[in-house]
Amino acid sequence: MSSRSKILAQVKANQPASVALPGLELPAHAAQWDALQKFVETLSGIGGRVIRILPGEDVTATLLHAFDANSNILNVSATVQGFQALPDAAFEEPALLQNVDIALMDAAFGVAENGAVWVTEAQYKLRALPFICQHLAVLLPQQELVAHMHNAYQKVQAIGQYDFGVFIAGPSKTADIEQSLVLGAHGPKTMTVFLLP
């Protein structure tokens, strides 16, 4: 008998009588937040940076102003034009992106309770990009904020299927050395979210 049939047979023999799935309606006393305020507060609290763009403001100028003038910016966002495009060769060899200073991309939405943003491969084109860059810059319309992860997954479902998708909450980090927090473990050293009006 294959291991597959062996495991499945033993699981079937040993699993108890079926227990129904619980409902997922939040109780009345669940937390409620002002999504915008909570998002900014939380993301800042976990080492991210939030820059609010005002109506009529020149996004490109603000972007340039936010980063070191010498850094290269690779742009896969549909919201702003210009900067460097993703080189075709990177699809074959994503390691080519190792010298990208700043990757700029659109996020579908953000989550107030934890400061995370949802991005999918379809949106930013190449899986490795938000991890291999030295700094991550994300554009997020401020009306695209949900309160918590329950709403977040409803939104994920509504947006549609993905091949790869990820919630990113702040810069990569570690506290493995005596619990001292260090930003910039293996992924980006900083994360900036530009909140669009």
């Binding site: 079926s18 994503p94 790869f164 990113i168 050395i177 001292s180 293996h186 992924g187």
Partner: protein, 462 residues
């Protein structure tokens, strides 16, 4: 079966005693973990619906355990439809052989691996090493213990027992950082450079799995460092290794688990990355290895079934007074602390017979567990089992039998508490004797003159 040849085989109590010789170090270990426990409390209290989340998570997992057969086949069908390759491993040896075969098929000798307690449980690193494969653990804490020739002492915080000066010295030897530099920022930077080179050049990446969704066939991996993503997205082949209990029915259930996991583990609102791997990237491979290794047996043990709900957050370790003062390595098993002490005897009752006794049964683990596993009750159940099998360790058997008898009788328990307080004041030598192993190497705290219930009874009238 010895899956961890590099781990010592002395009893927990002896190893704990060794760990306790350096009192400053034990205090430091204890306080660090307690600090993390407090961060967890703060995070939990910031969510008013916390108890609802715990109950819901526990109920979802109860559904999973009771429908595991169908959910497994559903998951497999979805994963195959997504283009993943699914493997089934009955035990650790088969898991290791499957991984090795994938490496051989891809003609690869060097790989990167992000944190996976399952591969630790299976002894994958040792196995691959014996077969000439170079495995680089990429989680910083795991890399530290790997360079030192050790295994993780905690499932979330692998090198919680290492001091920064020691890490500085280790990095000086292996990564040629300047001698005497023990600055965490600097050392993390050195590790980042060292590991980037590995990420950029390795063609196969192994990861663990935090959640696998039956409905969609995707696997979800949570890290803070970004090492799982750096490894997998830069490699041609991703091997995701998971225990069969990692299943959840639908994607929407992640809403519950992602709110609990990081808050329980470290007090963060969520891990930096929660990565959802549904399909392999074009031209690349995604292998998913489903591992039983005793889980289907545990499923049939009614008293211990709930231990399979575990989401490996580590909260029960951080809060455990025994773990904090004995260190993860004293458990001699990949998963240490209270939950490890339930899981290990399922694999080998004789070898791990001492672990269910490495507890005060205070119940703190049960109180913090995000999926509401009745951890301390299961430890107590294991003691009964081991007692029946004649496997209970000698000295402890007597006092623990007494403890079990007492815990079943609340009125007597209160009385005994009163008696114990008297004994502590009048004859502390009676408590600090060899029948009471947890008092080794430490003075008992001064007993309160009144218990809380006595105090309350007296003061509520006033």
């Amino acid at each position: 079966m010895s899956v961890h040849p590099n781990k010592p085989s002395q009893p927990h109590a002896e190893l704990a005693q060794q760990f306790n010789k350096d009192e400053d170090r034990v205090n430091w270990h204890d306080e660090t973990l307690w600090w993390i426990r407090q961060k967890r409390d703060k995070a939990a209290w910031s969510v008013p619906e916390w108890e609802w989340l715990r109950q819901t998570a526990s109920d979802i997992k109860a559904h999973v355990l009771s429908n595991m057969h169908d959910l497994l086949t559903q998951f497999e069908a979805q994963a195959l439809a997504n283009g993943a390759i699914v493997h089934w491993a009955a035990d650790a040896a088969e898991h290791n052989a499957i991984v090795h075969r994938i490496l051989q098929e891809n003609k690869v000798q060097q790989i990167v691996k992000s944190k996976s307690m399952l591969t630790e449980e299976c002894g994958l690193n040792e196995y691959l090493h014996e077969h000439g494969i170079d495995v680089v653990d990429t989680d910083l804490g795991e890399r530290i213990v790997q360079l030192a020739g050790e295994t993780p002492s905690h499932i979330v915080l692998p090198c919680i027992h290492w001091k920064k000066e020691e890490i500085g010295e280790l990095f000086h030897q292996h990564l040629h950082t300047p001698k005497g530099n023990a600055d965490p920022q600097y050392l993390t930077g050195a590790a980042r450079i060292h590991l980037r080179e590995k990420f950029l050049t390795r063609k196969v990446a192994i990861t663990g799995v935090n959640f696998a969704i039956a409905e969609t066939g995707e696997v979800v991996v949570c890290t803070n460092e970004g090492n799982a993503d750096m490894g997998t997205h830069l490699a041609d082949v991703h091997i995701a290794c998971m225990g069969i209990e990692k299943l959840i029915p639908q994607r929407q259930h992640l809403g519950v688990f992602t709110r609990l996991l990081a808050r329980s583990a470290t007090g963060q609102p969520i891990t930096t990355y929660t990565s959802h791997f549904r399909k392999p990237a074009p031209g690349r491979q995604l292998h998913i290895v489903l591992v039983d290794n005793g889980r289907s047996r545990q499923l049939g043990r009614e008293a211990f079934r709930n231990s399979l709900k575990c989401i490996r957050c580590g909260a029960c370790m951080n809060t455990c007074p025994v773990y904090r003062r004995s260190g993860g390595h004293s458990y001699k098993y990949a998963i240490s602390g209270p939950i490890g002490s339930i899981l290990a005897p399922n694999l080998d009752m004789r070898k791990h017979a001492d672990l269910p006794f490495a507890s005060t049964l205070c119940g703190s683990c049960t109180n913090v567990c995000p999926v509401k596993i009745d951890i301390h009750e299961q430890l107590y159940q294991w003691r009964q089992e081991l007692y029946k099998e004649g496997l209970a360790p000698k000295g402890k058997a007597v006092s623990m039998k007494m403890a079990g008898w007492l815990l079943g009788k609340p009125a007597l328990y209160r009385f005994a508490g009163k008696a114990a307080r008297t004994v502590l004041r009048l004859a502390p030598f009676m408590v600090k004797n060899s029948l009471n192993p947890w008092y080794k190497q430490r003075e008992m705290p001064a007993p309160p003159k009144q218990s809380f219930s006595e105090w309350y009874a007296k003061n509520k009238k006033a």
